[in-house]
Point group: C2
Chain length 157, copies 2
DNA sequence: GGTGAAAACATCCAAGA
DNA sequence: TCTTGGATGTTTTCACC
């Protein structure tokens, strides 16, 4: 699995999770390797798929998306390809940031960002509920973000 | 709110969400502005807080974290500063990627990444449940990721 | 795993639209 | 006021050690 990653590779991944725009010079300072070595290792980590990409993280509320909600969705059982249709749906909906299929009764979780309650209401009643495959939804509003996604913790020896 | 963002700014944010390591030259090609203009605007978007940072996105399963789970946590009601203690706890736990306080009965949602079921079991029984403030947990395993977080959709005029 | 040099890039400033 | 193009220092990357 990560047998091919030594402690330098792990440190590079760790630093790039914290700041994805670090230069090879800055990486070199932080991990104690030459810049060219960092360049080569980083490029390898990208090519071999350890690094899937780099993302700018935006302040959602700064651009008007003040409401974050988690919507639990139950799909109708009868419809056999309802799951596929639903997957296509959530991928096409710009309000949906993340979507997971889960074990348990409430089959799906959607993380959704909208401007306000009016838009949330419109999204649920005019977009989600009318869809064939959707049987039931339960909406929970995010009151507080206790921990934001800053990547995984890498156990560096 | 975003009155101060014209369509070029929005396009820059959009492109940087998709690829956070775009150079100003690449940005310039994509949005039709000079590289120096892109540099200036990007720096302004950073300083003014529209861009919070840049993150490398890792392939979790490639580094051994094959299990993604959503844990719904109910806190004990009596303990008045249980919420604060819980917030501190989840921030200290490396397994927890995201944590939200929600409206509704199941008060908190944790997104957790672990190596396997043994580690999940250890995390729930030896870490989460023994904590004072935690009353009840319900664990849902992520069976499928329908949509990954690639940032929000910006409505560019 | 490091070095050095060439090419690409970021950033700043003077000047134009 | 917003934008451009060129000057200058940095960064990336490659061949080579």
């Amino acid at each position: 699995m990560n047998d091919r990653l030594d402690r330098f590779d792990l440190k590079i991944l760790d630093e790039l999770q914290k700041n994805g725009r670090l230069t090879n010079n800055e990486l070199a300072d932080r991990i104690g390797l030459s810049p060219s070595q960092c360049s080569r290792r980083r490029s390898r980590l990208e090519v071999e798929g350890y690094i899937e990409g780099y993302q700018a993280v935006l302040d959602r509320s700064r651009i008007g998306l003040d409401l974050l909600v988690v919507i639990s969705v139950t799909l109708a059982k009868q419809n056999h390809d309802g799951a596929k249709k639903f997957a296509r749906l959530v991928n096409d909906l710009p309000e949906v940031i993340e979507a997971y299929a889960l074990t348990g009764d409430m089959d799906y979780h959607l993380k959704v960002a909208v401007r306000n309650l009016a838009e949330l209401s419109r999204f649920i009643n005019n977009v989600l509920l009318p869809h064939d495959s959707v049987e039931h939804v339960r909406t929970s509003i995010v009151l507080d973000v206790l921990k934001r996604d800053r990547g995984v913790t890498l156990h560096i020896t």
